[in-house]
């Protein structure tokens, strides 16, 4: 099974911020969407999720920061039940213990509201919610930028491990090619609202074609360490 979308586009106050774009995403794929800030990555992510949803696919979106995902006036339990209900599941039927275990948030008090949890826990909770019912695709928009590095790295590792043997495809949106390169096998490079290059991670790192990809590749990390 493959996910297809075509003709995704977006404009804001008369200016095109996303040129018509078509995508194909294979089952279980690991895709990175990289580009400088303002290149239209998040817009494409939103358009993709909204389009697949209208196609009747189950897709999940994890925004950059938990502040953009959780209502501070509502308890964690409420958010969870709401997500279950939105997927047509009965309350308590999603495998919460398994997901919480996988993301290491089993100890969290669900009666608390989001701000009663640490940001790292909140972010993992949001990811766990996104994984209810094993969606066809999970889109992660800069999932690590609101977190401290240690927590961010652990969260990405836990997510990787959880998705390992599953059909859920993952799209990682980030400005950081260094991060994407460690997590995905295919990359799409965005510039000025357009995908300018699509290739395997290996190719983009070693043989970037466009100036955008070359710049990202050249600046992908601070240093190579002899370990």
């Amino acid at each position: 099974m493959t996910l297809h979308v075509s003709g995704l586009s977006a404009a804001r106050s008369g200016r095109t911020i996303l040129h018509p774009t078509s995508l194909e995403i294979e089952l279980g794929a690991r895709i990175g969407l990289v580009g400088a800030s303002g290149s239209g990555k998040s817009t494409l992510g939103h358009a993709l999720v909204d389009e697949l949803r209208t196609q009747g696919r189950s897709v999940a979106h994890v925004p950059q920061s938990p502040d953009e995902a959780l209502d501070p006036l509502r308890s964690m339990a409420f958010h969870w039940q709401e997500a279950e209900k939105a997927l047509g599941l009965h309350t308590g039927t999603a495998d919460q213990p398994m997901l919480f275990e996988a993301l290491k948030i089993a100890g969290g008090d669900l009666k608390k509201r989001p701000w009663g949890w640490s940001r790292g826990m909140q972010q993992r909770f949001v990811i766990a919610m996104a994984l209810i019912g094993s969606p066809d695709l999970i889109v992660l928009d800069e999932p690590t930028s609101a977190l401290d590095p240690v927590v961010a790295a652990a969260t990405m590792d836990l997510l990787d491990r959880h998705l390992q043997d599953r059909d859920t495809a993952m799209m990682l949106i980030t400005h950081d090619l260094g991060l994407a390169a460690r997590r995905v096998s295919t990359l799409m490079v965005m510039q000025d609202g357009e995908i300018v290059e699509r290739a395997s991670t290996q190719d983009i790192l070693e043989r970037p074609q466009t100036s955008a990809a070359q710049s990202l590749s050249a600046h992908r990390n601070w240093m190579a360490l002899p370990c």
Partner: protein, 312 residues
Amino acid sequence: MIGTVAGLILRAIVVLSGTAIITFALLWNAPGDPAQAIAMARFDALLTEDVIDQVREEVGLNTSFWSAFVDWIAPLLVLDFGYSSVTGRPVGPDLWVAITYTFPLAVMALAIGLAISLPLAIIATKNPGGMLDRLAVATASMGTAIPAFWLGLLLILLFAVQLNWLPAMGARTPVHSILPAMTLGFGIAASLTRIIRSGILEARDQPFLPAIRRRGVPVRAIGRDHIAPHAAVPVVTVVGLELAFLLEGLVVVEVIFGRPGLGTFLTSAIVARDFPHVQAVVVLVALVFVTVNLIIDLIYKRIDPRIGEHDA
């Protein structure tokens, strides 16, 4: 939680004591001789100094400020409002009668205000800036600008004089409270509509709403579970403030419609310089205010426990 409730109650006590002292000081220093006024009201004639002095002593107006204050506050603390300095009858029962006329009217007015403003604001915000929205805002602005005494007379003219549907004056039956409640309710509806409208619009800008929509939560559920609680915070504040407006409006409306409620009770007491009657109303109003504010603070705590907490 217990700590915050205790803090809120302590604040209420401070407000009440302050009100008591200031009220007493204002009346104590009011121009004119209250003893003379009381005597005149009681005996309805020009009087000699002796009789006035006798009255002065009788109602305790000849002592120092603080001893008079203590004499005054002690019975109030056990809700004993004393005797009318005009009629000599106990204040309590008369006050209670006034309350039984005013309280239902206030509740009705608030209910009418909410019943009009809530749907109006929701309809208006369906399409912000659209025809319906602009119409609602314009109506609300007009409503705030119309004074209660004018609206009251207009309603009497229409429903009592022209159509002869409703009684204009008095308070014998519940039907008598419909016109005054409408007069007050329209004013409340006008200002509440604007607040609820802007509350809803602001709540819609919350950063997490797009994510919840993308989770597949239906629009109606988002409105009920996420926008409503956020919009409720400013609305609760204003409903509390509306109470002030309500008390002010009650005085005017009760006089217009000839209802023997608290407003009438207060105005006639002021005219007659009936010290115990005035203070009973003031104490009652302060009590109501403080209680309402306490309730509002507790509702805040329920909606958003972070409100009022001082953390870095």
